[in-house]
Symmetry: C2
């Protein structure tokens, strides 16, 4: 780990021009995996990771804003804004934006989460200047025109309807509601039909202005790239847009919060005429900065992270009760969730829940076997190393690290942290997390009698 | 393009041992992209592609069997068998199989299509011998035990139920039925609840025996690999399993067929209480060997292959009528499909269909602009080159090429074929394909009056 980026302060050159400050955060091997950070005057951070063995690069910009920052009446504004950044700038129409990247076979997309928003493009290295130009233009110069807001409302309402038609996806939104209630973390990222219908161009423009200043952005770029060149291009693009005007500006610190989640024993059922019942059984997890997260990662992998995991073996392999069954963790600045998902026909719901609950209880009490732990560590390490070949995954890691932790960790350090997890640590985190009383979210066609039985799973 | 692999014949060494025959099909640059094929005595083909700049490898085995080879009562047998190959061999339990790959962070999976089945594992290059050992064991030594067949039936019925709950996926099965009717290509790969319930261990074992002989398999491996080593390991594994006994055996030729599809003007509606209506409007396309496929690829990309495509622009960007809208092609040995998918709320169905139909008609009549064509060619070329960094994508290409064409094409040749597509060729293929009268498949909550209006879209 290295020093925190948000401490960077502005300096000026002898000629009075504000000076960017560049640090090498991780020194790679043979030019692979070198991570550098430059903080521009104006407070814009740029992190890059070099991977000279590929011919591609992924360029992304992360904004320090997510649906968690919305009031109830702004529900869905972050995601709405993400859509609108593709609709046109002073220099480009929506078609110009998409045609530029399509013409070179690039992939351009964006995603909105509860604590951040990310825009990115993956291109051949020779097309990187184009990707930088387009993505920076979108971030700094979007017009958010009234007529675009109106047309895009339709596409977003369709996206909400599409998500509603995917109960295996939707049940995770329901679980957030079960655990966090009607609070920013408990509301859906997309917003609702009502909030989306109520949002105006004016409110979204204000939201854009408030959350997309350079101090709230992190630029991340990985692949066959040159740090200094990326910095020069990004700086030129932001300066051209007049977005780096305050030399004293300091990047915002990673988000912190005081949310404590103690939800237990709650059951929410959304009746739907689906073929399967879609279930999430879970409990409070860990904040993303919690040091126990490495042990929880091992626990999660062994419990429900692969075909050899406990839950897959018990529910699918030995009994054929589900096709899809897995566990997962999600970590926010100040809290987190641990959940088990399964999809099964309504007649199997009680068997599946009983087995899940039994396994959670058993592991809370006894921990895992040494063999399970060493296999889970191997699985996490192997997939981490396999992920190194994907410039998109690298860009994600360094961008999210900068925004959420304010620091970078090398792959060697990550592998070492995984290897250092002990059976005792796993037993402790299992007792702390899995030992809590769970809550349950279900979408499906359960009849009254079946629905009444759900409470047994969280008693 | 190179000579066809299935002409290889068996020879013997002076000592009487059958000799493998190896050819370099594509000579790469600096060791990158060299494609070699060895045909073992016993008729097993092994193709590899080298990518020494990565640290990973993907190993796959392709079987020359798909749901198209099923009689009505065998519906779903190919896919059922694919599941059962993970359930245990003489040497390994189901847990042994999954734990082996999980322990090194490998990704192991399989997929069943209408004309082939593929099993693969992506691992770090140092773990390749393990991947080869496990996958070869599954292919040659699976036990297909009665009790495993019974347990796995539950998981498959859950998979069918899960697919039913995803109307955006399901509508493609419906479209195959609309176009091909109750024939092998028109029936779902997963089978139905009834056919899956009726399949016995005995029938599946016979199916396995019939379709998984070495002449019906293609081994494909890509990444940081050594061709000779891969061949030695695969040969040892197959010989140990007693699977290479007939030195005269010759690999099966690529599939051919005589299916001619003339479906036109048909409408199928599956009523469901979904939020969106999910539509596919389409017509007969091209067989995968049709030389016009390069022009159709360009046409498909420009019409519905990206954010700058006609359909995306007209339906989502300008009008916000859908979130997801795209076109696609699928090619079989003797026929193919061209389709446009859109998901939209029921009230928009008629607008969306009218715009789709108008665009199809317009392009059938006028072709595309030079700008659209050159952008689509750039998009296809760029994404092809970007795909070269993924050993899974490379393995897929060489394995499928060997099985379906019996030949390999270099990336340079592919890029040249794309670049050579002319506006006249696009106009011709647009007239031939899009000029046909379309058919339509819909899943959604349409009322009688709306449903009655669907026929207008295909008149």
């Amino acid at each position: 780990m290295t020093s925190r980026g948000f401490k960077a302060t502005a300096r000026t050159s002898p000629e009075g021009r504000a000076v960017a400050r560049t640090q090498t955060l991780i020194k790679g091997t043979n030019g692979i995996g070198t991570v550098r950070r430059t903080t521009l005057p104006g407070g814009l951070r740029i992190v890059t990771e070099t991977l000279p063995s590929v011919r591609s690069a992924t360029f992304g910009i992360w904004a320090h804003v997510g649906s968690r920052d919305e009031t109830r009446s702004l529900g869905g504004a972050t995601h709405y804004l993400e859509h609108l950044l593709f609709k046109g700038t002073a220099r480009r129409s929506a078609l110009d934006i998409s045609a530029a990247l399509d013409a070179v076979g690039g992939e351009m997309n964006a995603f909105t989460a509860k604590e951040y928003t990310c825009y990115y493009a993956r291109v051949l290295d020779t097309d990187l200047p184009l990707a930088i130009d387009v993505v920076c233009d979108m971030l700094t110069g979007s017009l958010i025109r009234e007529e675009d807001v109106d047309v895009e409302r339709g596409a977003i309402l369709e996206e909400i309807a599409m998500t509603e038609d995917d109960p295996g996806d939707c049940v995770h939104d329901l679980f957030a509601h079960t655990m966090f209630g009607d609070s920013p973390l408990g509301r859906p990222v997309l917003g609702t039909v009502d909030t989306v219908n109520a949002l105006t161009a004016d409110r979204i423009r204000r939201f854009y202005k408030k959350h997309y200043g350079p101090t709230h952005l992190v630029v991340a770029c990985a692949g066959n790239i040159d740090h200094a060149k990326v910095v020069r291009q990004v700086r030129a693009a932001f300066e051209k847009a007049g977005a780096l005007t305050d030399p004293q500006a300091v990047p915002v610190a990673p988000r912190d919060g005081r949310r404590v989640v103690r939800t237990a024993g709650r059951v929410e059922l959304l009746g739907r005429k689906t073929e399967q019942a879609h279930l999430v059984l879970g409990m409070p997890g860990l904040a993303r900065t919690d040091e126990r997260r490495w042990a929880l990662g091992v626990l999660n992998t062994a419990l429900g992270g692969g075909m050899s995991s406990r839950l897959f073996q018990e529910i699918r392999e030995k009994r054929g009760l589900a096709y899809s069954v897995y566990s997962y963790t999600s970590g926010f600045a100040d809290c987190g969730l641990f959940g088990v998902y399964a999809g099964c026909r309504p007649s199997q719901v009680h068997d599946v829940l009983r087995i899940c609950r039994d396994e959670l209880d058993r592991v809370a009490e006894n921990g895992l076997s040494d063999e399970e732990i060493s296999r889970a560590i191997g699985q996490l390490q192997g997939s981490t190393v396999l992920g190194l070949e994907d410039t998109g995954a690298l860009m994600n890691r360094i961008g999210k690290s900068e925004l959420c932790w304010g620091e970078q960790i090398s792959v060697d350090d990550m592998l070492a942290r995984m290897a250092a997890v002990t059976p005792d640590e796993v037993r402790e985190v299992a007792r702390d997390i899995l030992g809590q009383r769970p809550s349950l979210s279900v979408i499906g066609p359960l009849k009254d009698k079946q629905a009444a039985g759900l409470h047994a799973a969280v008693s």
